[in-house]
Symmetry: C2
Subunit: 508 residues, 2 copies
């Protein structure tokens, strides 16, 4: 408690102490209080500079202590007599006070407590709804047909086609144009065929459908990148500047596989190289990926544990938290009861957002790092610091680096090279991603609302607005807001339509 | 989108660019792509260094641009061919990344949204419960007896007694001991008389009672300080060191009121000085308070507005938010249904805490600053940065400075002087404040549970625990936690007992 009287007016006190000293020489204090203070003061000293003090001459010490005690006593009184000084309150603008680090802890504590409350309330109201077995039924309708699995096996065909085409092109037994056409057809089929299967085969569940289409989309992007890069390599080797080619793709062009394991152009067209790229956690092909020297076992196991843990958590929270809210929000949606709809939307926003955050960590940190570690893939930048993003564009550029990198390298820059303006190219990128968002949602659900598409396209005006009118923390808050509110809104829309489409008919 | 490819491996690219340059000197690019890039590149240049560039020699520019375009083209390709580099994910410990300022915004947004949801839900469930008229009934049972007001008027008697006694003491017509006794009796009555009235007169409402007892307690502390300081002054003037006395209480001892308005000892014993101290926003008496030069009108009005606004808000939130929760938590408390009790406790914690924060701002910033400005009282330090406190003691030392200052000056330090250990003195302070907390709650409610008392005393072990086991942010979080959970717990206890005592009997 001592430190908090350190801010008595120092100047006045100094004066007081001096005069107190002089006063002491003139006259002794009245016995009582003086005695009282010798006591404590002597104690102070002995405690202050412990043992070796005791060894000194006693009488000397007592003299010192008494004189000291008198000074101290005066000092005390002068302090206590004037205990106020002119100063401002911390919260009034006049005092330039700014340190509110405690507030962050406050926010965290409040969030934890209020969510603990929600969790408890939820348990009391619904009991335990978690049911791991149920998850399987999300992937399988009838256990004797595995359409999703079959589709995944088929996907290899397209990979092999792409590889074969490239080989022919490298040999020159296929013209650039022909090769280009083959690639286009191959990719067109990759896009349409699984969609058709998902739409037509009834035993594909929505979740299974999303899984399959997701895989095919990723593969599509990978093969597109594969084709582009190989084309660029041919372009470079057409340019007969050997130095350049060597310096770029391979230091020694004597034999195809250089001594230091650097691969150069035609040498990369192998099955091994192809499948490494297919499984590598990136969408952008490269002849010589940076590789990490070893597989760090502890790192690998930690990521594996995270993967398993978060999978469980995601399932549990969805069953226990999301589904009850969604079910309870069906009625307000049908009645178009606006105030209740808003209440349900906000109620859904929190779990939905938390699940999204967990999913982000689960996929972009745990899973991708796990794969990368397993394949000794060097580049682990799967996301950047999107949580600090102060503009919508910054968010979209940094939360999903593999896709962003692909868009930049194979879509945005080529458009710029073809002389389109930045504005148009950017819109085109958003349009593409909007298309794929819609593709990945509508097809598995077998219903074509444009919520996801519009959701993505709505990012453009939002980006413009935030970019022009909000700065710093306000921009950041706006981005968070759009994330927290935007997603559950789309979710509710789809769920509602899906519910109306399927269950209402049954009830009627 | 341009900036985000600034982190391709710089060394490799540099090499590539150089060799690209050399390569360009040897052989021309194949027409198509070269042409394609001259186009964009020329555009880039003219856009880059606008007007004066146009004035120069055209042919020169085109040459430059074409050579440049070749370089750029190679550069592009070299970039795009190697778009990965070995690096860690931000969230993995290997990358020493630490910047999470976005998280604070996230917390704020989440808090705002979830509370908006609660607010909406509350409105939907209860409708509007706010009723300003009801507030009056909290102070008045029957409009023809105003016991609280009468008590406040009576309080002046004690002030005058204290002043009269001091005058006698200063004249020496009353011995130190006699004066001390008179003061003690005076204060004893101040403590017991209002309590007796509140307990015996049925028309005193709990709120009215708290108000009266609060006022009396403040007055008690003030008068105690008044007595102490005057005693110290006498002690000093007994010490015949004129210099000392002058330097401390007054620069010129010729006449009692010095030229520069500095008052010295006997001269301060005037009605005016006494009542200034009574109304001044401090508990520690001083002969010459620091004064602010003028009354800043804008400041005064802003504080006034805040006072009125927060009063309304506090009442409204209590009626709309607190009371329904408290009512709904009565049943679980009776049934001792632990899980539901916890749920209700957490549910109550949020509004209770927010109301406490508002109350803090309303009282310690708005009201006290308003009074201080009105009285041109200089020292505005009514609180320090308790929100950053990392230990319980730090919190208690900094959230209520007037009381803390009083305890330090008139209770803690005197105890130390009498040779008690810090530990004991500190416990004594907590004991005192625990007593007054209990006094201010139990008497108005007319029931003697020891919840408040125990709540305060529980701070000692808590302080010990936090001080020994938690540091930095954890300590801070613990302090917040104790605030957020501790208060509503005590509130629930009292409300429950009060409810059982009064309403159950009616129902039976």
């Amino acid at each position: 408690m001592g430190e908090s009287d350190g801010n008595g007016a120092p100047t006045r006190r100094r004066r007081a102490t001096l005069s107190a000293g002089r006063g002491a020489t003139l006259t002794p204090m009245n016995g009582r209080s003086a005695a009282a203070f010798q006591g404590t003061d002597a104690a102070d000293i002995s405690s202050k500079d412990g043992g070796q003090q005791g060894k000194r001459d006693r009488s000397l010490e007592t003299v010192r202590s008494t004189s000291k005690s008198k000074k101290k006593r005066r000092n005390d009184i002068s302090d206590t007599l004037s205990c106020h000084k002119t100063q401002q309150s911390l919260l009034s603008s006049a005092s330039g006070y700014k340190n509110y680090r405690g507030v962050l802890n406050w926010c965290v504590v409040m969030l934890v407590l209020s969510n603990a409350r929600l969790f408890l309330e939820n348990l009391l109201r619904h009991g335990i709804l978690v049911d791991p077995i149920q998850v399987i039924s999300l992937f399988l309708n009838d256990p004797y047909s595995w359409p999703a699995a079959c589709l995944l096996i088929v996907s290899n065909v397209f990979v092999l086609v792409a590889l074969y085409t490239e080989r022919q092109l490298s040999k020159g037994s296929l013209s650039e144009l022909a090769g280009f056409l083959v690639h286009c057809i191959n990719m067109a089929i990759m896009l349409t065929f699984p969609a058709a299967v998902v739409l037509l085969v009834p035993s594909v569940t929505p979740v299974g459908g999303v899984f399959v289409l997701g895989t095919y989309t990723i593969l599509l992007l990978k093969l597109y990148s594969y084709k582009d890069v190989n084309m660029w390599c041919r372009e470079l080797s057409n340019v007969k500047a050997k130095k350049l080619a060597r310096s770029l793709s391979c230091p020694s062009a004597q034999h195809l596989n250089g001594g230091d394991g650097q691969v150069c152009y035609p040498g990369n067209l192998s099955l091994r190289d192809m499948y490494y790229f297919v499984f590598a956690p990136t969408l952008c092909y490269e002849l010589n990926f940076p590789r990490s020297p070893t597989i760090r076992m502890s790192f690998l196991l930690r990521r594996l544990f995270e993967m398993l843990f978060f999978t469980q958590l995601l399932v549990a929270l969805t069953q226990q938290w999301m589904i009850p809210i969604i079910q309870s929000s069906m009625k307000p949606l049908e009645d178009m009861d606006l105030s209740r709809m808003t209440e349900r939307l906000l109620r859904l926003a929190v779990p939905n957002h938390l699940l999204w955050l967990m999913f982000f960590y689960w996929f972009f940190h745990s899973s991708l790092n796990f794969t990368a570690e397993l394949l000794r893939f060097g580049d682990r930048q799967f996301y950047k610091d999107w949580w600090n993003s102060e503009s919508v564009t910054y968010f979209w550029q940094n939360w999903n680096i593999p896709v962003h990198k692909w868009c930049l390298r194979h879509f945005y820059k080529p458009l710029l090279r073809r002389g389109f303006s930045k504005m148009i190219s950017q819109s085109a990128v958003f349009f593409l991603s909007a298309f794929f968002h819609e593709y990945l949602v509508s097809v598995p659900l077998r219903m074509f609302r444009l919520w996801a598409f519009m959701g993505m396209m709505a990012q453009l005006p939002l980006a413009w607005f935030v970019g022009h009118f909000l700065r710093g923390n306000y921009g950041n808050a706006a981005v968070w807001m759009s994330l927290i509110i935007g997603q559950p809104f789309a979710v509710l829309m789809y769920v509602h339509d899906y519910y109306v489409l399927h269950y209402r008919q049954e009830t009627d």
